[in-house]
């Protein structure tokens, strides 16, 4: 007997944060929650189970730095809780969702926070609550997306890949550039792992792409110019420009549905979304965000969404009149 380490850690985690009072209610954490700290992390597992025999790992890595303003909060409170439901609507039966929060390794105290793969919205919600919104990020126009890519590539283990050679999904959302290379010092400080040298971000992307379909979602058109070109170099048409951050989950769920061929085309997608209570504007902006990606998948162009001004197709019109 005689052990107080976990209790001391828990005590310290709550009381040490006294210096940073004020701020958000949703993200009650004032520092990286011990459960989300990647320190010493070996592997996050996404496993099949009796209840979920055909699991599919989906990672959502959210930029939580200051430049994103209220978007992380909006996603965490309004959008992500519905993500599971939307995935089901898109025909993804056994999603396992993991949430990561990305900061800036050069200026934030929690450059990367990592949850666990969860199969219910309630458990997922918990990781969101535990996330600490730093609001930092520092002036460089770059964030540590490379850490999220590296963690997904090196420290996750998914049955969909191991058992069925089916890739998982990694969605990053943010508005900044990635660092040119993954710093071994950051990896050492963050995970406690020794790398021989820094790894160019291209290589980190390549490693993640081996087991994940990787996407970068830019939350709104105003934020496009900051970073779109660079992400297109890295990810091509897996760079998705949205019109509103409120579309994030619909876009992500749609991407999974389209890629897995659970949704035949964009028109079918529009039907699913409107069937799930999305209003016409929301459906239109979601479908428009996905045009380029649908072209990549060689899906037929949707006949109503070529411009924001006239998001109207034939049956579509009927539905809302």
């Amino acid at each position: 007997m005689g052990y107080g380490n976990y209790s001391s850690a828990a005590h310290a985690a709550l009381t040490a944060s006294r210096a940073h009072l004020g701020g958000s209610e949703v993200f009650a954490q004032r520092q990286c929650h011990p459960l989300m700290s990647p320190k010493g992390l070996k592997v996050r597992e996404c496993r099949d189970s009796a209840e979920h025999p055909d699991s599919l790992g989906i990672v959502f890595a959210l930029d939580v730095t200051g430049s994103m303003g209220d978007i992380p909060r909006l996603l965490a409170t309004k959008e992500l809780p519905n993500f599971m439901k939307l995935l089901t609507a898109c025909g993804v039966v056994h999603p396992q969702l993991m949430f990561m929060a990305i900061g800036d390794a050069n200026s934030d105290q929690a450059a990367l926070q990592v949850g666990q793969f969860e199969s219910t919205a309630e458990l997922m919600d918990q990781w969101l609550t535990w996330s600490f919104l730093e609001g930092g990020g520092g002036g460089t126009g770059q964030e540590s997306y490379d850490l999220a890519l590296y963690l997904a590539a090196q420290h996750t283990d998914m049955d969909n890949w191991v058992q069925r050679k089916k890739k998982g999904y990694l969605f990053m959302t943010g508005d900044e550039l990635p660092y040119p290379a993954l710093s071994r010092h950051h990896i050492d400080a963050l995970i406690g792992e020794k790398l021989d040298e820094d790894i160019p971000v291209e290589e980190v992307v390549a490693a993640a792409v081996e087991t994940y379909h990787v996407f970068f979602l830019i939350p709104d058109l105003a934020r496009r110019k900051r970073c779109e070109a660079r992400w297109r170099e890295l990810l091509g048409n897996h760079t998705i420009c949205m019109e509103s951050p409120a579309d994030t989950c619909a876009v992500a769920a749609a991407i999974v549905g389209l890629t897995e061929k659970l949704i035949p085309d964009l028109d079918a997608l529009a039907g699913i979304l409107s069937g799930n209570g999305f209003d016409r504007e929301h459906v239109g902006s979601t479908v428009r965000a996905l045009q380029d990606y649908a072209a990549l998948l060689k899906l037929p162009q949707s006949n109503y969404s070529s411009s924001a001004a006239t998001p109207v197709g034939k049956w579509w019109k009927r539905l809302f009149e």
Binding site: Y6, S7, Q116
Partner: protein
Amino acid sequence: MSTSRYASVLGLGFGDCGKGHFIDALTRRWQAHTVVRFNGGAQAGHNVVTPAFANSPSRHHTFTQFGAGTFVPGVRTLLVDPMIIHPTALLVEAEVLGRIGVNDALSRLMIDAQCRITTPFHQAAGLLRELLRGAAAHGTCGVGVGETVRHGLEHPDQELRYGDLPQCNPSKARRLLDRLQAIRETLLVEFLPQSPSWSVGALSSEFQTLKDETLAQKWLASARALARHCPPGSFEAIRTQLAQAGCVLFEGAQGVLLDECRGFHPHTTWSSINSPAVDGVAARFGIEAPIEHYGVIRTYLTRHGAGPFPTHDKLLDGLLPEPHNSGDGWQGAFRRGHPDTVLLRYALEAAGRLSGLFIGHLDVFQRGLSLKWCERYSVEPTLPQGPRTVERFPLGVREDLDHQHSLTHMLQRARPLYNAELIRSAPDFLERITGVTSLPIVFCSYGATCADVREN
């Protein structure tokens, strides 16, 4: 007709007897489906080391609230009243387990809605109390278990139970927050008069915790996270879990020599460590089948923290490694001493009905070490004609603290008298134990992992 088997493992020393090690071994051997923690709290530290197997390396974990059978896939932990729950530490422990590959510990956990819970305010007040004792420290683990019990007795209206945590309607949530603030304010008022002299250091930092008005809300968010993962277990759910066919193990925390009534006051813990306590918990949930109770000892005696320890030998401190019990933290030094039959006899009597013994650390002899066998103490007689040696300590009337105090006093002055023959081998040791008690020695352990546990 139930086919369930119920067994408990109780330490017969001052703790660190090897209960975790034996619980892990029994869980595997008897294919237990549930390990029950029923006493103490997060101050327990039950070390389990798994053997390396094929490509997987050996793993180690110090179990404090999760049952020590948790390394075995599928085995559930059940925490029942009167165990004290530290919700936020449970989350930390789950994460630590996750890092060594046990990812589902929280989903295998059930917590009795009746369990009392520790808050940061209890923890801070417990630490303040121990700091203020200075040299007269009782030896605390600093996790707030004692303070939680004490506070609950003095302020029953402020007691928090695990079943209070889940959020329902706003007015109930409000009342819960009010109760947390009441705990904080009660403790704040208690320490306020002494506080002006604490400008910096540990005292001041723990006192800040009591002054922090925002902490209750933050703590609640975190504790509720646990309650969402692991909703409070109803009486019926626990009864069903315990009645399931198969084996249930009751994992005692601490050791009989620290028992709240039988330990050496004031160096005791707020917890009952004896077989009637286990029987009482089981009976509460309608288990009628008899429970096998097993006492655990090490070949040598250990004590972590303050309190008398007649056979303590500094030489052994240097010779016997203790990789998972360090001397730092709140508890103070980890000490080792020779086997002590006076304390063993007392422990056997205080533990209540036992079915047999488990003996750990028999491998010390393989390393060429020999131990001394303490048969009696030499004491200063209290009366001129009084006895000058003591072989056994009388068991007093229950809850007679004066009696326990006098035993502590005697123990502090006792000088151990050793048998002329050193103990040089495991068989020799086992034989000497059979001279003290007629209880069968059921399992012996010759190493750190379940692979080293042998039936005797």
